[in-house]
């Protein structure tokens, strides 16, 4: 193997890791929601796309760098998620899976088409000043925007870990996830915790959207793809496991980047789906999932 090839491979892996961090943050939202409520958010990719559009609009009309509009986007998404859970999803918590699926599918359809109505079908992207900056580490070159996005994703994920391990509410949510009945017995307001959880999950994916727009242009049609991608990541990492979601994000990020290098670009997601099938069969609880999460 030539030096050149190894270098481009290393380059691809590095790029995949950086993108993978943002993927991981997106998947984290899905994983948190499932882990606590056992509801699969079929509208996840749609929420991601909305996050991308809002950050795009803030930049386009207000000149705000997505890294700065991100906290606002996250807060807004928290509020949307909270209300959505309270108003629409809560009554479906104990209903059969296919009904939850249909509800979220309906929400997804509405959301993605609202994007289409407001932003049109054309792809939208933003041109940051840092677009062409890069950091060099030995022979490797890192795009500045990707580095910033990945760094922000790491910060947000860390904050989330702190939230779940250090705060009262975070601990209460974990308790409710482990033992629904027990949580009710000790007097936790499970409905409220669920709403907060959905808000937190939504905030994750909204933030991931704000970061993603700095890397990739957005169209409404990306939504379904992101939903699938988030599923793949979360299943590979382990549904309900937070570290699993991040690890899955990195894995898929890297495998996409490497497959894009070695194979036809159009074949790159075949890799991810192949990985999904293998994981589902050999370790359905995911790489880091617990056995009981099935």
């Amino acid at each position: 193997m030539t030096q050149d090839f190894l270098l481009s491979l290393a380059q691809a892996i590095a790029k995949g890791l950086l993108t993978g961090m943002v993927y991981g943050l997106m998947a984290l939202g899905l994983s948190v929601i499932f882990g606590v409520m056992r509801v699969v958010n079929f509208a996840h990719g749609e929420m991601m796309v909305v996050g991308m559009y809002i950050a795009w609009a803030a930049f386009e009309y207000g000149g705000v760098n997505p890294l700065y509009s991100l906290p606002v986007v996250a807060l807004l998404f928290f509020a949307i998620g909270y209300v959505l859970q309270r108003g629409l999803i809560q009554p479906f918590i104990n209903r059969p899976e296919h009904q939850q699926f249909l509800l979220l599918l309906a929400i997804a359809t509405i959301v993605v088409n609202l994007c289409l109505v407001f932003a049109g079908p054309d792809s939208r992207s933003i041109q940051l000043e840092s677009q062409f900056d890069s950091y060099e580490l030995g022979p490797l070159v890192f795009d500045a925007v990707r580095v910033h996005a990945a760094a922000a994703a790491v910060v947000i994920a860390s904050l989330l870990f702190l939230f779940f391990t250090r705060t009262r509410i975070g601990k209460a949510i974990r308790a409710a996830a482990d033992n629904h009945m027990g949580a009710l017995v000790v007097g936790l307001d499970v409905r409220k915790l669920y709403a907060i959880t959905f808000g937190v999950g939504a905030a994750c994916v909204g933030a991931a959207g704000a970061l993603m727009i700095t890397i990739i242009p957005v169209t409404p049609f990306l939504a379904a793809e992101y939903t699938l991608l988030a599923f793949v990541i979360v299943i590979v990492g382990g549904l309900g496991s937070m570290t699993g979601a991040l690890l899955g994000g990195l894995l898929i990020g890297v495998s996409e980047a490497v497959a894009g290098l070695l194979l036809e670009p159009s074949l790159k997601s075949m890799f991810s789906f192949g990985l999904l099938i293998v994981v589902l069969l050999l370790r359905p609880q995911g790489l880091l999932g617990r056995k009981d999460s099935r």
């Binding site: 699969v40 629409l88 009554p91 209903r95 899976e97 296919h98 009904q99 699926f101 249909l102 509800l103 599918l105 309906a106 929400i107 997804a108 359809t109 509405i110 993605v112 088409n113 609202l114 994007c115 289409l116 109505v117 079908p121 409404p220 379904a224 699938l228 599923f231 793949v232 299943i235 549904l239 036809e264 159009s266 074949l267 997601s269 075949m270 789906f273 192949g274 999904l276 099938i277 589902l280 069969l281 359905p284 099935r294």
Partner: protein, 323 residues
Amino acid sequence: MSRRAIVTLAVLAVLLLAAPKLLGGYALSVLILVLYFAYVGQAWNIMMGFAGQLSLGHALYAGLGGYIAAGLYTHYGIGPWAGVFAAVAAAVAAGSIVGYLGFRFSLAGVYFALLTIAFAEFTRIGFDNWPWAGGSGGMFLKVERNVSDLANLRGGSEMFYYLILAMAAGILVLCRWLLESRLGRYWLAIREDAEAAQAVGVPVFRCKMAAVTISAALTALAGVWNAFYYNNLFPETAFAMGRSIEITLSPIIGGLGTLFGPIVGAVVLTGLGEIFTSASDQFHLPGLKQIFYGLALMLIVMYRPAGIWPWLARHLGFEERPK
């Protein structure tokens, strides 16, 4: 079924048979769509409504069926009536693989659904890169005007109407027969509680395999019909997750596990779709139709979670027997 229901069915049957003479081109095309969704919904309902296995990848079977029959016809001149056997065989093989892996490794619920999605997506990408099938550029059947060649399924919408009508009627009879058979009852038992079913002697794995293969075979037939009706196939649409989801909607909206649910669901959903299309055309806003559609889905699942048909049947005095 009540007497009233039988009379209604008979009147409906006569109207349906006469429809091409009574309806204009547009109305007939809508009716064709209704029958198509009723048919595929019925096929999917066998798996989910009867046996309780959630498949969100049924586009795989329809797509495979369509591609194989269309490919045999365009490449080798093998007509669809022969090609359909290969199409069904391929779908059954695919269904067996998905089923075997899913059921052997006892994936349930969401996990099984994700496996079905993954296989459909996997196949989509494969077809995108398969020259025989035309790759992402798609596969096209030669359109011949003013012919009516039933042997090669080249003809106008009237031919395809009667074909899909026969298929929809046939699958209704088949599903009824299945449901009244031992296998059908075993499926219901598995849907309700697989462990308890196995304890009373239901060979769960074999019955689930029967459900997925029968459902896949029937779905492949719809795929063949679809390919020859529309004359084109693209991996992007034939294997799309959206296509799979479309298949699931009629039975869920109409009433999962019921015989008439998929039909009622197809009527309601196609009807709503057409109404919203013409309504939103006046505003020239792409996406508006889908927003209405999403809202309608949401309202139905919120207020009629068991589907429209059970509720309708009660109010019209058709009352399906308790199952």
